[in-house]
Symmetry: none
Subunit: 226 residues, 2 copies
DNA sequence: GATAAATATGATAAAAATGTGAAAAGCTCA
DNA sequence: TGAGCTTTTCACATTTTTATCATATTTATC
């Protein structure tokens, strides 16, 4: 599962946006639907959806109905967003095949944790350790990097270098520090080797290449903010 | 057995519901009966029931009687729910052909564990554990692998290696990790032996061989998505 | 602007890792 | 024991990555 695709269904666009933002930042691709009917359309039209997040309360077709519909043809993981602590509903839901509940209001942390737990359980690739910054997602577990959702091929050293940069975001790194952090201590070659790797990294990262800033007379710095 | 079907028999609907919820959540299909007579009806009317969970105390026909009846025609696994620690009953029950006891009150974890253990033990098609990814189906129980529905012959090591790969989908695996996961800890041979096995696996998997990705400088990764 | 110092770039050489086929070593079962 | 199989080792071909170097470009400073 290169980049799990999640469909969020809620009639409140503010809520959709909220959820979407957190998930996108974690490297997921997120689609939106405003009600159950629209959700079904997207679910069947779009390529592979890896998870659904449904609000219970929706016009036209509510979360339960939608869930029931989907379950007729698919075992895709479903998370239900409910009002706080409605246990009766939860029992009903588990029978319908809901995988998890999140009761509103929820913290982003909870949301992301549940999503990752479920995708992991679903046998997928989750359980990952990821670092994200400025549209660049580095997945240590899968050893992959994606820029704006698009996979980028990096060599081993390039990956390690980027990892080091991203773990030290906003910090000016001298060539010596980089050498110590990424190369083995028994490396006594030219520090200018770093330049070459930075060059390749920048070019492979495309637009995002300039997240790696040159600090004159010192070294480099990875920074997403601005 | 794609989705084992379990019949829970208890006169207390609250208890039935409780048990059912946990099992449903684990992917079982659960039917309910309120007493022994009803249970027999369902058992003979319904298609294939894979397991029975019986409460001892029931009106009309208690758990023992029901068990005796069922055993006249079927060896379907039976779990008995009893009051805590009634050893006399247990002896009686084993003679009647009860497979397992769970004494009330029980934790959901115990329940699920026993159910899974028994289905697994029930051998044959039951408790089957399969992993699927990208058209490759690995059946741990049967120790078989099929690619696009066509059986593929693997040696023992090849099977174990593929199993390890598939259980760690999407995770970049170093040779060391693979060695630790698939070989015994007392193996001190060459890590390159992995390469050879990967080679054979790839060729035996045919098209699907390239689900096993090489990660340069690191090792391998099994990935189906893309 | 001119100059010196530092960095970027592209090409190329060197090194390292993997793929492959075959042979050797182990096992298993008549 | 020995045929038939699996597993491991090995040597060599191939591929990919990494390091180096010469040159171009950029930057800071005067």
């Amino acid at each position: 599962m290169e980049q799990p695709r999640i469909l969020i269904v809620d009639d409140e666009s503010r809520m959709r946006k909220l959820v979407k933002d957190f998930l996108v930042r974690k490297g997921y691709e997120v689609l939106e639907a405003g009600d159950g009917v629209e959700a079904l359309d997207i679910f069947y039209a779009e390529k592979q959806i890896d998870m659904l997040i449904l609000d219970v309360m929706m016009p036209r077709m509510d979360g339960w109905e939608l869930c029931k519909e989907i379950r007729k043809t698919s075992r895709v993981p479903i998370i239900m967003l409910t009002a706080r602590g409605d246990e009766r509903d939860e029992l009903l839901g588990f029978q319908l095949g809901v995988d998890e509940y999140i009761s509103k209001p929820f913290s982003p942390k909870i949301l992301v944790a549940r999503v990752e737990a479920i995708l992991r359980r679903a046998g997928g690739a989750a359980g990952e350790e990821k670092i994200e910054a400025g549209g660049v997602v580095l997945d240590k577990t899968a050893h992959t990097v994606a820029v704006d959702g698009k996979a980028v091929d990096l060599s081993y050293k390039e990956f390690e270098l980027l990892e080091f940069f991203m773990e030290n975001q906003g910090i000016a790194l001298s060539r010596e520090k980089i050498l110590n952090g990424v190369w083995n201590y028994d490396y006594f070659g030219d520090a200018r080797t770093i330049d070459t790797h930075v060059k390749k990294l920048r070019s492979k990262l495309g637009d995002k290449g300039d997240l790696i800033h040159t600090i004159w007379g010192l070294g480099y710095k990875f920074e997403a903010g601005e």
